[in-house]
């Protein structure tokens, strides 16, 4: 009872303060979201009597340099600058949780993925920003459907999306177009090699284009790449599972993964791994991108920022030799189903314990506005991937990422499914990940991996409270795509 009253008082306080700020403030002047953000920030500084201010921002260490230029611009205009608090990408969650306990205000806002949101919202760290979004008139309508929804939890907006991170498949067209290859491939598999429609076709491509002239088990060209490392690999399986028509839970949150869809997709996922580099079980982006860009693999399923490695004249040996494909799918009930997964996705969250939450919000709105986000996305080192319709026609974005890539990427977004975004998401996913890896290593069978996961999921659900979880699951379900293939 005490707990409940405490919770209610928090809710009440939040409602009260948000009501007050909404009433006392007006939309800053400006025709674009970035101009409004700058105006809003200036007004904030004036109202506080400040001329310069440094916000503390927690962000994954590998993303820092991508946004420094725009941060500097904002500081020049408004006097609001940023001190980076860099944290390993897999430790963001732990640091944020510790801040939820500490309530120290040591950072004002942070960049995180959607998985952490449900827990951090429940923990009271992530601040609902609906009132600020309304006041600043953030230009959210330009965002491709599906992305901004991931920054919402139980009907409230907690963050601004800065990154369209749904997976894309890159393949090497130069290898396909090499003399005689098409004919040989067609003779063997009976279809014209190109972007695969199904995972089966991807498997065939991977098999055919694995080049191991010495036969020593260390190919010169590996047929496929995807992520199989701890903390990452599960996302790649989840995408495949969704394409099979699978859903992780039913409406009562009973796990459904151990069924036929789960098993078949996991077996395919494991089978494909044999065409990948041996160390792939330890690789994430910093290892995978340079390897692919070095021309060592035929195909890679990864984040769209692969372009900054593969199309970069200095880092890549395969500039212009890549083709970007729609994500493959499965034929389910006679119809092709493609599914893409928003596999990380940077989101700006504002901390409830921030010393300057409003200033942090204005900076976030600035960085995610139509104009500035295009600059961010097209930056030479940017890990922010296109996520707005306007990026499709923006010359800078197209120059940085190629037109084919941006188009394909945003088409993939039409069949994009979210990760499991309910309270305890990190734990649900971690258990899944661990079991998938054990299956991948041959420690347990695919069947056991999924059964173990389902059993563990039941325990997690029961511990958090089934009723609450059902509610959360219902809230995320509309974010699943209705289309089977993109238009």
């Amino acid at each position: 009872m005490r707990r409940l009253s405490g919770f209610l008082s928090i809710v009440g306080a939040v409602a009260l303060t948000s009501g007050l700020t909404a009433a006392s403030a007006q939309t800053p002047a400006g025709t674009t979201a970035d101009a409004r953000a700058v105006a809003g920030a200036k007004a904030y500084m004036q109202s506080k009597g400040l001329t310069s201010l440094k916000l503390n921002m927690m962000m994954p260490s590998i993303f820092t340099a991508g946004s420094t230029v725009e941060m500097a611009n904002f500081e020049k205009e408004t006097g609001i600058g940023v001190n980076y608090f860099e944290v390993g990408i897999l430790q963001i969650q732990a640091k944020a949780m510790s801040e939820a306990v500490a309530k120290s205000g040591s950072f004002d806002f942070w960049i995180g993925d959607p998985i952490s949101l449900p827990d951090l919202a429940e923990a009271g760290l992530a601040k609902p920003i609906d009132d600020l979004v309304a006041r600043g008139k953030a230009d959210l309508d330009d965002i491709v459907p599906g992305f901004q929804e991931q920054a919402r939890y139980k009907g409230k907006t907690y963050g601004l999306v800065a990154d369209g991170d749904n997976f894309i498949l890159a393949i090497r067209k130069d290898l396909i177009d090499a003399p005689g290859e098409r004919q040989k491939f067609k003779a063997k598999y009976g279809w014209e090699p190109g972007c695969p429609d199904t995972y089966e076709q991807w498997y065939q491509l991977a098999e055919f284009f694995t080049r191991d002239p010495k036969g020593a088990g260390v190919p010169e060209v590996y047929g496929a790449m995807g992520y199989r490392a701890r903390s990452w690999g599960w996302r790649w399986w989840l995408q495949q599972f969704y394409a099979k028509g699978g859903m992780p839970f039913d409406d009562n949150l009973k796990p459904l993964i151990a069924g036929k869809e789960g098993l078949e997709s996991l077996r395919d996922y494991i089978a494909l791994t044999k065409f990948m580099p041996k160390d792939i079980l330890g690789w994430a982006t910093p290892q995978a991108y340079p390897f692919y860009a070095g021309g060592n693999a035929f195909s890679i399923m990864t984040y769209p920022s692969i372009a900054i490695a593969a199309e970069h004249p200095e880092r890549s040996k395969i500039v212009g030799k890549n083709r970007y494909c729609l994500v493959p799918g499965y034929v389910v009930g006679g119809k092709l189903v493609r599914r893409s997964l928003q596999g990380y996705g940077n989101i700006f969250y504002v901390s409830s314990y921030a010393k300057h939450p409003e200033a942090a919000y204005w900076l976030a709105q600035y960085l995610t506005s139509k104009e500035v986000s295009a600059r961010l996305v097209s930056g030479p080192n940017s890990v922010y991937d296109p996520y707005r319709r306007s990026h499709l026609t923006d010359a800078r974005v197209i120059k940085a990422r190629t037109k084919e890539m941006v188009e394909t990427h945003l088409k993939n977004a039409q069949v994009m499914a979210p990760m499991i975004l309910i309270q305890g998401a990190v734990e649900y996913n971690d258990v899944l990940d661990q079991n998938i890896q054990e299956a991948l290593l041959g420690k347990i069978t695919a069947e056991d991996a999924l059964k173990n996961t389902a059993a563990a999921w039941e325990k997690i659900t029961n511990q958090i409270g089934r009723k609450q979880q059902i509610e959360g699951w219902k809230a995320i379900k509309p974010a699943f795509p209705t289309k089977n293939v993109p238009d």
Binding site: M97, A216, G217, V218, D279, E427
Partner: protein, 314 residues
């Protein structure tokens, strides 16, 4: 100092001179530190373990008591039990290896010979390196096409591509190897110090009586070294059971759960899964498990040290 302050200061100094005051002087800050810093922490830990609080459930001071629920959950959590067992198993492999290697090296370096100082300097190096650096350094060496596999290939005469960081047993060996590589330096140091400090008379006497080197070693030196061995076991076991850095940096506790030590798992349960009460209960279980082991070792150490004192007094 002012003239007026002098008598007071003199009295203070005299007061401090008294034995019963003087001897307690360092104890006050030390015990105060433990009482203020560690004790509340421990009480808080116990308190948290009696709730079913997670960070997503309001404030911890509002959470209701749920008795021993967290403990029950912890004991039913096979992943926790495995992590616990794995941690002890890693220590059970690493610590004896470190002891044997350290002892062997110390024996080889016992008497002076040309180059002894250089060897000693080299052997002590790993101890002085930050474990995080070791973790990073090894992750660079152990990639499947890395220098370590190349070295192995050189010896094996064929291409070796062991996936040290992404296959089950090799990853476990890598983590244990990191510990052994780094901390054999410490056992070497402890044993070298121990050997150097052995009393000469009983050994000389035995030699005069015609005992063989082996007999002297087995019947005189080794018993004298018992307390040193005990302290080496204690120090290394205590540290090995805390293992966190190597798996975190080398393998992210993977592949699968191959290198998930209990410290890493508790980190995850507490901070990533937000189950603070469960983490607290598991911590207490871990503490009991470690304490049972270490306290037995300390008892042995005490007995040996006491025996030493008594014999020395005779």
């Amino acid at each position: 100092m002012t003239a007026a302050g002098a008598p007071g200061a003199g009295r203070l100094r005299r007061w401090l001179e008294r034995e019963r005051v003087f001897k307690w002087l360092p104890f006050v800050p030390v015990q105060g530190l433990f009482a203020l810093l560690l004790l509340p922490n421990f009480l808080l830990l116990v308190y948290l373990s009696l709730l079913s609080w997670r960070i997503t459930r309001g404030a911890w001071w509002n959470a209701a008591f749920t008795g021993l629920d967290s403990f029950q959950r912890a004991l039913e959590d096979s992943r926790f039990l495995w992590a616990l067992a794995r941690t002890f198993a890693f220590a059970a492999v690493a610590v004896p290896l470190e002891l044997l290697l350290g002892f062997g090296l110390a024996m080889l370096c016992r008497r002076s010979f040309r180059g002894r100082r250089i060897y000693t300097s080299v052997f002590l190096l790993p101890m002085m390196i930050v474990p995080a650096v070791v973790g990073y350094d090894l992750s660079m060496l152990l990639i499947d096409q890395g220098p370590f596999n190349q070295l192995l290939s050189l010896f094996a005469g064929r291409t070796v591509t062991v996936r040290w960081l992404s296959e089950y047993t090799p990853a476990q060996l890598a983590v244990i190897g990191a510990d052994v590589w780094q901390w054999t330096a410490l056992t070497f140091l402890v044993f070298t110090a121990g050997l150097a400090g052995l009393p000469e008379e009983p050994i000389r006497a035995a030699r005069v009586m015609g005992a063989s080197r082996w007999q002297i070693f087995w019947h005189i030196e080794l018993p004298l070294l018992k307390p040193v061995i005990a302290i080496a076991v204690i120090l290394r076991s205590m540290e090995a059971l805390k293992m966190f850095d190597y798996p975190m940096l080398l393998t992210q506790a993977g592949p699968g759960n191959a290198t998930e030590t209990v410290a890493v798992y508790l980190w995850r349960v507490g901070w990533e899964f937000a189950r603070v009460s469960d983490a607290a209960a598991m911590s207490l279980i871990l503490l009991v498990a470690v304490a049972m082991y270490i306290l037995v070792a300390i008892r042995v150490l005490r007995r040996e040290r006491r025996r030493l004192t008594e014999e020395g007094a005779v």
